[in-house]
């Protein structure tokens, strides 16, 4: 069994130790430019913990976080952890029904939310309203809700150090589920600590580092963003959702704040390279660029490394269930004629990898198989889904191996090479999407009789999502209608790129939708239209 003891037994200890060691250093900078020192952040988190404990929060209780990214979110996260609660970050821009289904699924006892989401969370035992519009005046708040400013008036408190356990649940991250209901990946302090300790050993941060936080907190990239700088007394710059989608402003932000570490999905780096006007800025402070969450099309990777030639680049791979479990250093410059995607590399030192065939027997190196991961960063299970949790693992040699579902093959020099998936999960802009989740939404449209969604590779976007649909001839919705419908039913990253009307969907001999045929036809069509261009 891998070693599971770490210098810290709990994620809060990173903050608490830095608050002792470098109390006056700036810990976090809010998107609005305001900042807190380590001492202030620790004090605010203690007050949040005091408030939650006074409200009767018990170890393991879930607390929702549904608000735009900001300093209050970081204070709330550490406060929740100090009270031995588990935080559940939820996309505040998601459709209300989706937000509510997540809060209901894990039965949150409290929620920190912006005013709009506080309405969605109505009925939860404790609702704390954050954000500029809330204000301290209680008459502006939904009934029974508490203003964030009031929370900070609580006496500082925290769960007894001795009572904290490394196996305590720390957070739940919800991902797309195949049946249309998001599923919660539950992760313990140990899971996160083992990953953060590995990051420390490989990336060697120190208190002079300035980290970016581009990913939203409901995305697993945020674990590195939040905890690695807190451990080392570095400064974390929170990037708002608005800024994070604007490459020109983002480029200026990275340069003017002299950020030293950047971590995002390849999509964002592609946007920066293509639209960021990077030539106009000085990026000499940037020493490390990390990317994860999807395949990086080589032409975009080459583009960013040409414009940012000096940092060291790493490709980090891992599903939410394991966090990063393999990594590859990307040597630069990238040859002008390279088209082959980069490998996902070798297992991180705290993880072990196994490649097995469909009978769960290990394959010889070089053969394709499913990647299984074991180690202290591997998640506990899916919230409230014991059957699905059990089937996610392979028991072998006295260890639990998580089935990533990703097909890989091992190269003797490059490590693991990602080949694809056998199921219907794809990644777009770093988000995991079960294609069945999109179909479930489309079936709720009153004119749609049948829906089959496929994903095809795309050199520019990484992946394109196509929805094949059938509807009565005289009542076919327009594409505009379908786009609008999807924007109301699904998060933006899940909306199909195109809708294709069919008279009927192709079927296999057993009368199932013939996805392989659709997939093949779509890929051929995409290839031929590219050749015409």
């Amino acid at each position: 069994m891998a070693e599971t003891s770490f210098p810290a037994a709990n994620l809060c200890q990173y903050l608490e130790a830095s608050a002792q060691r470098c109390s006056d250093r700036v810990a976090v900078v809010d998107p609005d430019g305001s900042s807190v020192t380590y001492r202030e952040l620790n004090d605010r988190a203690d007050r949040v913990a005091g408030f939650l404990l006074a409200r009767g929060l018990q170890p393991g209780d879930r607390v929702g976080l549904v608000q735009p990214k900001g300093l209050t979110g970081v204070c709330a996260i550490f406060g929740i952890l100090k009270a031995r609660g588990a935080y559940v970050p939820v996309d505040s821009t998601a459709p209300p029904a989706r937000i509510r289904s997540i809060l209901d699924d894990c039965q949150v006892r409290a929620v920190f939310a912006d005013p709009r989401c506080a309405e969605i969370a109505a009925g939860v035992e404790t609702v704390v309203v954050t954000g500029k519009h809330a204000g301290p005046a209680s008459q502006n708040l939904p009934q029974g809700a508490v203003a964030w400013e009031k929370v900070l008036e609580n006496e500082p408190s925290r769960a007894e150090l001795a009572s904290r356990h490394p196996d305590d649940l720390a957070y739940i991250l919800y991902t797309s589920g195949s049946t249309g209901i998001p599923k919660g990946v539950t992760l313990s302090h140990t899971n996160a600590l083992s990953f953060v300790e590995w990051c420390s050993s490989v990336f060697n941060p120190d208190e002079h580092d300035r980290f970016s936080s581009h990913a939203p907190f409901h995305f697993d990239l945020s674990i590195l963003d939040i905890y690695l700088p807190m451990k080392h007394g570095s400064t974390l710059y929170l990037i708002s959702e608005e800024l994070g989608k604007n490459p020109r402003k983002m480029a200026g932000f990275i340069a003017s704040n002299r950020l030293t570490v950047w971590y995002s999905t390849p999509s964002i780096l592609s946007l920066l390279a293509e639209f960021g006007n990077l030539k106009g800025y000085n990026f000499s402070h940037l020493r490390l660029v990390l990317f994860a969450g999807e395949v990086f099309p080589v032409k975009h990777l080459r583009n960013i490394t040409r414009q940012w030639p000096s940092p060291t680049y790493f490709n980090l791979y891992g599903p939410t269930e394991t966090n990063v479990c393999t990594y590859a250093h990307i040597p630069t410059p990238i040859a002008h004629d390279r088209t082959k995607p980069y490998p996902i590399g070798w297992p991180c030192s705290h993880c072990s990898a196994l490649v097995a065939d469909d009978d769960k027997e290990p394959v010889t190196a070089g053969e394709e198989g499913i990647l299984y991961i074991s180690g202290p960063s591997v998640f506990v299970g899916y919230w409230g889904r014991s059957e699905e949790s059990a089937t996610a693992f392979l028991e072998r040699d006295g260890r639990r191996w998580y089935n990533t579902g990703d097909v890989v093959k091992q190269d003797p020099t490059d490590g693991f090479i990602y080949v694809g998936r056998r199921d219907r999960m794809v990644k777009r802009r770093g988000y995991r999407i079960e294609l069945g989740d999109i179909e479930s939404a489309l079936y709720r449209h009153k004119q749609i009789r049948e829906a089959a969604v496929v994903a095809i590779p795309d050199a520019d976007a990484g992946v394109k999502i196509l929805a094949y649909v059938t509807a009565p001839h005289d009542a076919r919705p327009s594409m505009v209608d379908l786009k609008v419908f999807c924007s109301e039913a699904l998060p933006a990253f899940m909306s199909p790129d195109a809708f294709l009307f069919q008279d009927s969907l192709p079927r296999t001999s057993t009368d199932k939708v013939d996805y392989q045929k659709l997939q093949k036809e779509s890929t051929v069509k995409a290839e031929s239209s590219k050749n015409i261009d």
């Binding site: 989608k245 402003k249 293509e274 505009v480 609008v484 109301e488 933006a492 909306s495």
Partner: protein
């Protein structure tokens, strides 16, 4: 002139974001951003197209919903920003 600008934008949006859609379903006042037809990445591509095609520079503060939610608003912005006589 304004008609031509609107048509070019319409054609671009149809090709890039609504492949297969009838031109008549994409009206001058069809919501683009608030409807999800064009997401944040799509907006960057649209701006890139407009800047190249009409030889103008769109500033970050101009890229909001007030100028980019409808074809007619985008066309007005372009007309306002084009150098006189262009």
């Amino acid at each position: 002139m304004a008609d031509q600008i609107r048509e070019e934008i319409r054609q671009y949006i149809l090709t890039e974001f609504l492949p297969g859609e009838k031109a008549s379903n994409l009206r001058d006042d069809t919501p683009l951003r608030t409807s999800g037809i064009i997401d944040s990445v799509g907006l960057l591509r649209l701006i890139d197209f407009i800047e190249g095609r009409f030889n103008i520079q769109v500033d970050a503060y101009e890229a909001g919903v007030e100028n980019f939610d409808r074809i007619e608003d985008i066309a007005s912005l372009i007309q306002k920003k084009r150098p006189a006589g262009a």
